[in-house]
């Protein structure tokens, strides 16, 4: 069967099944699947950790933590709020009426399941059939299978997405069969053309180049939602920097940096700590390092490729050299001061640098802590990240929040979340996506 035929059969199946259910039934279906993942001793979480770890290199414990936290946010009330919030008044159209997409094609790049799940859910709640192309594990070309796993049979691509769909099928097999996984090599334009032609909407999460390339080739009449790769940062206002609040704040920040090994667009590269609080940025860095170590002990950083390890060592080494030139003194008073906290095996690093300008991390749990005189000055310190910010994690008083959020939106941030929840956005954080699909 050609791909076109596969998709046609998929769409016909969807017409007979998903399209005929009410939105409430679909929400119930998804929520029931999410329940399976949230269950104590969930076998789904167990499998995801075990099989996902081999495929992605992330540690099993970290995968389980990340997925458990993702599914915490997927329940009847959050799904309802999302769908009805965005599509109020459009329910009729969502019922397979005119305008709603019949077939949504999802192109995932990268290993993070959250973005892929979010994408897939958005297709399901608008009652579309879904064609999913997972990232080729190691597609970046630099991720070689970690040594410890050499010889292990490699699970198929998109293992975590496939597991999720399996759980959806366990709840309702008929509805679950409205998802089709397809694989093709990036660059196989013939297959892409076939798939695009058979789609009503295409959602891609990928690098800017990939997104652009797809955008150009999407046939007219086909909806297109493209999400390029982004970076994120966190800010702590001075009024929140108290000795009392520090441990919890550091713990929350360590979570945001460490979950998914910092590979997400919502993962912070830099944490800006405002001057004038009860805790200095240097002290914050130290507290953060304690929490990074604790997190690593429980949810270890995954295996990384040689190139990634080299990049980590390159950045860490550069800053350690600089740090070696400062043997004492007030970290925050000395220009160019640097201090490096890190694990002996480079499983995490916190780099304090007395330089406000943005620094890009090599990821895999290497984060910069920087002082800033006033958070309101942040825009001039964005440097290479300007225009590429996805999320700003913010810890500030109510009085300052509104103006700061306006400022963040002003430089293009897609979302503002609290520290500790940067990587756990609400389902509706890609505002307008459902409207876009259905409208």
């Amino acid at each position: 069967m050609t791909i076109t035929e596969q998709i046609r059969k998929l769409a016909e199946h969807r017409d007979r099944t998903l399209a005929k259910r009410s939105t409430a039934e679909i929400i119930e279906w998804i929520a029931a699947a999410a329940d399976l993942w949230r269950a104590t001793e969930s076998k789904w979480l167990e499998r995801a950790g075990r099989e996902g770890s081999v495929a992605t290199g992330f540690s099993a414990e970290m995968i389980r933590l990340g997925l458990r936290d993702f599914f915490e946010g997927v329940n009847r009330s959050t799904l309802t709020a999302w769908v009805y919030g965005e599509l109020s008044g459009m329910e009729e159209r969502g019922n397979g009426g005119m305008g709603a997409p019949r077939v949504v094609t999802h192109i995932f790049s990268g290993n993070l399941p959250n973005a892929a799940f979010q994408s897939l859910l958005s297709g399901l709640v608008v009652k579309a059939a879904n064609v999913c192309k997972p990232a080729t594990e190691g597609a970046s070309g630099t991720l070689a299978l970690p040594k410890s796993q050499a010889g292990t049979p490699v699970p198929p691509n998109g293992i975590l997405q496939k597991l999720f769909v399996e759980s959806l099928m366990e709840v309702d097999a008929e509805l679950g069969r409205c998802v089709l996984f397809v694989d093709w090599r990036g660059g196989d334009e013939a297959t892409e053309r076939e798939v695009f032609a058979a789609s009503d909407a295409i959602i891609i999460n990928g690098g800017d180049e990939a997104v652009e390339s797809v955008r150009r080739r999407v046939p007219s009449g086909v909806k297109f939602l493209g999400y390029g790769h982004r970076v994120s940062l966190a800010c702590v206002a001075r009024e929140k920097l108290t000795g009392e609040a520090l441990p919890a704040l550091a713990e929350a920040a360590a979570y945001d940096v460490s979950i998914w090994d910092q590979q997400g667009c919502l993962s912070p590269h830099c944490i800006y700590v405002e001057e004038g609080g009860g805790v200095s940025s240097a002290e914050f860095a130290e507290a953060l390092s304690v929490e990074m170590e604790r997190f690593e002990t429980k949810y270890s950083r995954g295996e990384i490729s040689l190139e990634e390890a080299a990049a980590f060592e390159r950045i860490r080494g550069a800053y350690e050299f600089r740090a070696s030139q400062f043997t004492g003194g007030d970290a925050c008073a000395i220009k160019d001061f640097a201090k490096v906290f890190g694990d002996e095996q480079n499983r995490w690093a916190v780099i304090f640098e007395n330089e406000t300008m943005w620094a890009t991390s090599c990821l895999n749990r290497l984060v910069f802590v920087k002082p800033i005189a006033r958070l309101e000055e942040l825009p001039k310190y964005l440097g290479a990240a300007d225009g590429k910010i996805s999320c700003v994690g913010l810890e500030a008083s109510e009085e300052r929040r509104e103006k700061l959020v306006d400022m963040f939106t002003g430089f293009g941030a897609e979302r503002v979340g609290s520290i500790g929840k940067m990587q756990r956005p609400l389902l509706n954080w890609r505002r307008g996506a459902l409207k876009e699909l259905v409208g």
Partner: protein, 424 residues
Amino acid sequence: MPSLSRNTSVMKTANLQSRLLDLIGRGVGHETSDSEFNALALEVVEFQFALNPIYRGWCESRKLTPATVAHWKQIPAVPTSAFKDFALTCFPVEEAVAEFHTSGTTREKSGKHYFKTLELYDAAIVPNFEAHLVGTDRWAVRNGNVVAGFSLRSESKRTRKGCDYTARPAVAPYLFILTPSPEEEPRSSLSHMMGVVAERMKYELGGMRAEDFFFIRNGKLESERLVRALRGAEESGETAVLLGTAFSFVHFFEHCEREKLCFDLPEGSRAMETGGFKGKSREMPKRELYELFEKYVGIPSSRVVNEYGMTELSTQFYDETLREKSEIRNPKSEGNPKSKIQNLKSVPPWARVMIVDPRTGKEAVAGERGLIRVFDLANLYSVMAIQTEDLGVRRGDGFEVLGRASAAEARGCSIAADEILGQN
């Protein structure tokens, strides 16, 4: 420091420099044993620890000082990035007779390497270059000066009408350098090195000025002039030697493509290419580049030699491709038979290369990839042990350079450093 010690250490220094010159003077054909190299390396690191306070701070932070280091492999290496922030010298920087800068991007500062003297640097250039590009190793250092310029024995068996080879003295090669001259770019270590080579060659060619060998002027490749000169080489039957950056060669080959030109340089002609593409154009795989040499100038890939060097070092590393067979220390390493590209770099006797596993910080197992760390005795007045940002792998006594250690794409949806900054 009491004056007696200062005098002693001054004497020791002068002595150390001349002993290193002697070592370099022995050429690249004779290995130094590990113990001989070790003894010198430990002396050098003691010297640098005493006179380079920035390096001393680094050693102390690593808790690896001359008191605790017993073997050169333990010597703390300085990351190349440190040259951007610090003047790493064993002498007052105002006394520098030369400084070389890395070609930093506009966003980044450039690294600076200062020299108290260029004697060691220049001595290290010639025997190494000659052995790997010319195929002989005959030169000497006398009284601290390199004597006996080199010339290529013509390997061309071709006789051309009207050319009588019997009457000629040692045949001089045609030399084509696709870099700016050192006069134009005094801060470029590559241009300086090319200048040293050109000076040596000009005596052979009689009447030519070293600057005539350079084909980049005012920052532009003089393609037309190069074309005429290459035609001359073709017609004369003389062995041609082309030296330049990979980027410049690609630029010239693109010119040839546009103008529908190609050259059939005499047999024995050879080329040296160096440098990456540093984000200027797409990264070109070596095989593709070497095919262009064959296509446009008739130099087969078996006669193209890659040079690995950097501003932070005083020593270059060349592929063994053209060395006389008897000198190759790794006869089993034939290079990659599929590609016919040698790739194996030899290490001159006054240097060592270690491959470090970035995951452990320790020496990588032989055959495993890791970061290249260089120990260069010629770097006496700066820092001997340099941690590069390049990936490589040990092969026998030599090593292979695999490219820069950049994490290409992030595996998730974030952007890794190199993507967001562009290649740099």
